[in-house]
């Protein structure tokens, strides 16, 4: 993470891909694609009350852990494809990162991607609550 950017460099191509979209609908379409390509999706069988992210209009679940090399691993799932897509992008960002860096990350990559609606309080609850939980769990795992 350098300069004013609060997301890891390896997320830049993803952010650029979203920025290059023609309009919001194309960005949503891309998010739906990312939802399907989630690198560490949490299957519905593993969704339970303990890993549910509360305060969301949609159902969202995350499990945060440390991989074999001691780095952060986010597994997550949501019934809303837009939240699932944002979760997938977040997993691309945080998986393999140092725990301390994850604990300090900001969610501004979503804004940079042009997903305006993901950041307003009433709707962003799905994404922002998920992000907050990821950051808190990264701090606890340190």
């Amino acid at each position: 993470m350098t300069g004013s950017r609060k997301w890891p460099e390896h997320l830049d191509p993803v952010v650029e891909e979203f920025r290059a979209c023609f309009d919001a609908m194309e960005r949503y379409e891309l998010l739906f694609d990312y939802a399907k390509m989630h690198p560490s999706a949490l299957p519905q069988e593993e969704w339970n009350d303990n890993n549910q992210v509360h305060g969301c209009q949609s159902r969202a679940h995350v499990i945060c852990s440390v991989d074999e090399s001691g780095r952060f691993l986010l597994r997550g799932g949501a019934d809303a494809q837009i939240v699932q897509g944002l979760m997938a992008v977040t997993a691309i960002a945080v998986n393999g990162m140092d725990l301390a860096d994850v604990a300090e990350m900001e969610p501004d990559y979503a804004e940079a991607m042009g997903i305006r609606s993901s950041l307003t309080p009433s709707r962003a609850n799905g994404f922002l609550n998920m992000f907050k939980r990821v950051r808190e769990e990264a701090a606890l795992l340190q």
Binding site: M25, Y28, Q57, S58, R59, R123
Partner: protein, 408 residues
């Protein structure tokens, strides 16, 4: 005389707005809250600009003007609902109105084992206070189921549930299904077993003229903001004999006769239940709203809303994957069209519709027991009101079809 929808729309400045993405607003979230006509906005602004003062408390000119406006609004509103000002208690909305029945009437009059009858169709505002009363006082809460084929109350089950009931609480019109319940029949049946009746008219009042005295219910809860009035105000209409059985709920200033260090005595009638500084601007705004609504024949208003809603629902049923919850085709349906798509999750669909400028509601609509009965966690809901046009409905159906074709 047919409604002049364009003239009506001209009264609502917000309907002309453009969203940040350049799309024109199409507001289909009226069951959550209606928009406000300019006269309501002006009445509230005028109060703050010209005579803002606390009511009932001082002898100066501004206080006198504010008190007169507050009480004049009570007269207008109670008259609009077919009753007299002494049977109307201002509340913060329908939720507080129902809580006032629970804590002001039921706490004083019900004991362990007494029966409160609810329905699966109720808003949480008409469920949770009774669950709390069950915990606090040991009252038994019974739920009348809905028929999930017709989306109406199971009236046979209602009759069975009435046995030994002390209080019956029923929603006039479902905020999810748009279904209007047979409230006149419910009041009669409930009274025949000696039960008091509370009708939640939060959704009913924007769609038909509620006449409290002829309806005969003991309590009617109403919310201003769904019928062109401001947020933060509503009322409970209470029959005089029922009000006489009520004890204080919220206590403090205004509702007392005399306070000493040993104790307090209370005002009588509605004044006992209106604690603290009244919602003066809101009451004035609501008074302006009922004056505005009073120019229309509510039967015509209902028919217009029903035409737009039933046409929209019929068109939506032709879109592959869409399921409608409720029966908007019924003559008494209120204009709420709940729906789901088989593969596009409801929150996703709402965000995609928002990109087109269409404001619809998503979620459990504060009616989770109803969602459980329907077997779904949430629905999308388009809800129509007096200013919505067939043109808006046509553009909605067209856009929804495009979204589904692209994302399903």
């Amino acid at each position: 005389m047919a409604l002049d929808i364009e003239a009506i729309r001209a009264d609502f400045p917000i309907l002309g707005r453009t969203l940040p993405n350049g799309k024109k607003l199409v507001y289909f979230d009226n069951a959550a809250t209606s928009q406000k006509p300019q006269c309501v906005i002006d009445a509230m602004s005028r109060y703050y600009e010209e005579y803002n003062s606390n009511a009932h408390r001082a002898n100066h000119t501004l206080a006198d003007e504010a008190t007169t406006a507050l009480e004049s609004a009570r007269e207008k509103i109670s008259s609009y609902f077919g009753t007299s000002p002494d049977q109307m208690i201002y509340t913060s909305g329908a939720t507080e109105a129902i809580n006032l029945v629970a804590y002001g009437w039921a706490r004083e009059n019900l004991d362990e084992g007494d029966v409160v009858v609810l329905t699966e169709m109720e808003h949480h505002a008409d469920i949770v206070p009774w669950q709390q009363m069950s915990i606090d006082k040991g009252v038994e809460v019974r739920y009348v189921p809905i028929d999930t084929e017709s989306f109406t109350l199971d009236m046979d089950a209602f009759e069975v549930a009435l046995d030994g009931a002390s209080l019956v609480c029923v929603v006039h019109t479902s905020n999810v299904l748009g279904v209007r319940n047979p409230v006149e029949k419910i009041v009669k049946m409930s009274h025949s077993v000696g039960a008091r009746v509370l009708i939640d008219c939060a959704q009913g009042a924007p769609h038909e003229r509620i006449d409290f005295d002829s309806l005969g219910a003991d309590f009617v809860a109403i919310s201003a903001h769904k019928m062109a009035g401001p947020t933060g105000i509503g009322c409970i209409l209470v029959k005089r004999d029922a009000m006489a059985e009520m004890g204080p709920f919220m206590t403090g200033g205004s509702m007392i006769k005399r306070v000493t260090t040993e104790g307090s005595t209370f005002q009588e009638g509605h004044a006992m239940f209106e604690t603290g500084t009244p919602r003066i601007a809101e009451a004035i705004g609501w008074g302006a709203a009922v004056e505005w609504l009073d120019q229309f024949d509510m039967r015509e208003v209902h028919d217009h809303i029903n035409d737009v809603a039933s046409w929209t629902a019929a068109q939506m049923m032709d879109i592959p994957g869409i399921k409608i919850y409720g029966d908007p085709d019924r003559d008494d349906s209120s204009g709420a069209v709940s729906f789901l798509h088989e593969s596009i999750q409801s929150q996703d669909l709402a965000l995609l519709l928002d990109e087109g400028g269409f404001a619809v509601r998503t979620g459990h609509h504060c009616a989770q027991p109803l969602m459980d009965a329907l077997g779904v966690p949430s629905t999308n809901r388009a809800s129509f009101w007096i200013y919505n046009t067939m043109g808006e409905a046509e553009s909605f159906v067209e856009y929804l079809s495009q979204v589904i074709e692209r994302f399903a």
